[in-house]
């Protein structure tokens, strides 16, 4: 059985005030898979995520062309972009704990969504922190500042925050840059569990991370999607473009 299409991107192009970041990217992300995007710096991976989240509306120089369909519906036709953003969680390369307590960080999105009952918020905070494998470490100090946590803990806090809005899709942008290897492995285990429930897009500069986790992998280079394919096939040499295999083998990047 072929899984339903969660995200369909066709002929996407992005430029910032005339400077092209992405051109002619088309790909499909299926429900309940981990889809990884690999590629060297400046290949347009982050811009790709921004376009999905309609950040172009809040970034004055950013222009987006082409079509993106989320759940089969063009994201330009979502009249409420805030609802769109709430159904897509984002995790940034460097952990960005808002200058609030651990509890308030995780309760931020639910509060935006209008949830006020303390019991309900408590439940969401606990569930999100558990899913992000952070609950046991912070359950006794939920009122202390999120920014006082270690780097690895902060990154799990931002993952918990992204999960608190109960998203259908989670986009992680090079989440392991500021995280120690042990925490990285814990988060990776967590992502494998998580994909049973939601769809995950994993932008990573670690080729092996994509290999460990992803069902499908796309290789981006200088704003173009060179190749998309099943991860296993890609890593066992079934590549169409010689640049892909060179990048995977670490000859450049």
């Amino acid at each position: 059985m072929v899984a339903a299409k969660k995200l369909e991107v066709s002929n996407l192009s992005i430029d910032y005030g005339g400077k092209t970041a992405i051109s002619g990217v088309s790909l499909t992300v299926r429900e309940h898979e981990i889809f990884s995007i690999i590629g060297p710096a400046n290949s347009g991976k982050t811009s790709f995520l921004k376009a999905i989240n309609r950040m172009d509306l809040f970034t004055s120089s950013m222009r987006v062309g082409g079509d993106i369909a989320f759940n089969g519906k063009n994201i330009r036709q979502w009249r409420n972009i805030y609802a769109l953003r709430q159904s897509i969680g984002v995790v940034f390369p460097l952990p960005i704990g808002l200058p609030l307590s651990i509890y308030d960080n995780v309760a931020f999105a639910p509060r935006l969504a209008g949830i006020k009952r303390a019991s309900e918020l408590d439940e969401i905070v606990e569930r999100s922190l558990k899913r992000a494998a952070l609950w046991d470490e912070v359950k006794d100090r939920l009122k202390s500042l999120g920014s006082l946590l270690s780097g690895g803990q902060q990154q799990r806090l931002t993952i918990a925050r992204a999960l608190s809005q109960n998203p259908q899709m989670l986009m992680l942008d090079e989440f392991s840059i500021a995280v120690d290897p042990v925490t990285t492995m814990r988060i990776e285990e967590m992502l494998k569990e998580l994909k049973k429930e939601i769809t995950i897009i994993l932008v990573t500069n670690l080729v092996q991370q994509a290999r460990r986790l992803a069902d499908h992998t796309a290789f981006f280079l200088t704003g173009q999607c060179i190749e998309v394919g099943e991860t296993d096939a890609m890593f066992t040499g079934e590549v169409k473009d010689v640049r892909t295999s060179e990048y995977i083998q670490g000859r450049f990047g």
């Binding site: 989240n53 809040f58 953003r85 460097l94 999105a109």
Partner: protein, 289 residues
């Protein structure tokens, strides 16, 4: 073993020289403040008493206290802030959080800078034309305070905008990605983290407004009034104008009286500045990133 070469010694001498020079310049800066305060205390200290603070001037302003002027200044500053602070912060929020960088915002920024450079006497004449005559507020606290308010606007706007811009952009992105609107982001993240800078700007403006004379002298401050203002459409006495009047316009004022008025004025301003610094330090220590 290390032996200082001629070049080393030369460098060390130059270093000591510049260290001394910079320290000297800094001390020279303190000097005028110390001298002014010293002179005021020596010459005006004898005029200060509770009675001085809480009675009206009497006998053609050659005796008595400064109570109506003190109260009047508080009125003027308070009404001016009620006008300029909400307006200034709102404008700063727009410029910092909503406006794109285009010719219109650049024009607005230019206008704000120019507004800050307009001499206070020009503000005074504008106040007469706009508030006293055109809006027919008459010479009143309202007209004088609006004039003061317009003068303080640029600093409130610039200070607020700068402190909002100092809140890291990534915080906003994190909020937007969670589906927060711009306003939700401003209210929950930007304003709480920039409030210390905004308040510093406001309090510094309070102390400047307290001392301004020209903008109020044609718009609402009176030479002498035997009663306290009852509302914003009354005229009022003010500390700064009172000082000007008894120093230059009234014959037979004992010498310690103007010095005493000046001392009270300066101490008021210094107190407010110290308050602002203490408050800023307090809020900065509470900062969370």
């Amino acid at each position: 073993m290390f032996v200082a070469s001629e070049l080393n010694q030369h460098n060390q001498k130059t270093e000591r020289l510049f260290h001394f020079l910079f320290a000297l310049m800094t001390i020279l800066l303190i000097l005028p403040v110390a001298v002014i305060l010293g002179v005021l205390v020596v010459k005006g200290g004898s005029a200060i008493s509770l009675e001085f603070l809480f009675t009206s001037p009497s006998n053609g302003m050659t005796e008595g206290g400064i109570f109506p002027a003190l109260i009047g200044t508080i009125w003027l500053v308070a009404v001016a802030l009620l006008f300029s602070v909400p307006l200034g912060i709102a404008a700063a929020v727009y410029l910092s959080e909503y406006a794109n960088d285009n010719w219109l915002t650049r024009l607005i920024n230019l206008a704000i800078i120019n507004l800050a450079g307009v001499p206070s006497i020009v503000h005074a004449l504008f106040g007469v034309g706009a508030f006293v005559l055109f809006f027919q507020f008459g010479t009143s606290i309202l007209a004088a305070s609006l004039t003061l308010g317009i003068m303080t606007l640029p600093v409130v706007i610039v200070a607020s905008r700068e402190s909002m811009q100092a809140v890291p952009y990534v915080f906003r992105e994190a909020c937007w990605n969670m589906g927060a609107t711009r306003w939700q982001t401003i209210r929950r993240v930007v304003l709480p983290n920039s409030i210390s800078g905004i308040l510093t700007g406001v309090i510094l403006e309070v102390s400047r407004t307290t001392g301004e004379t020209a903008p109020i002298m044609f718009t609402g401050a009176a030479f002498f009034l035997p009663y306290l203002p009852q509302g914003i459409f009354d005229q009022t006495m003010a500390m700064s104008l009172h000082l000007f009047v008894i120093s230059t316009q009234v014959p037979g004022v004992p010498e310690n009286l103007p010095y005493g008025v000046a001392l009270v004025l300066v101490v008021m301003v210094l107190l407010m500045n110290s308050l602002s610094i203490a408050f800023r330090t307090y809020l900065r220590n509470k900062k969370k990133w």
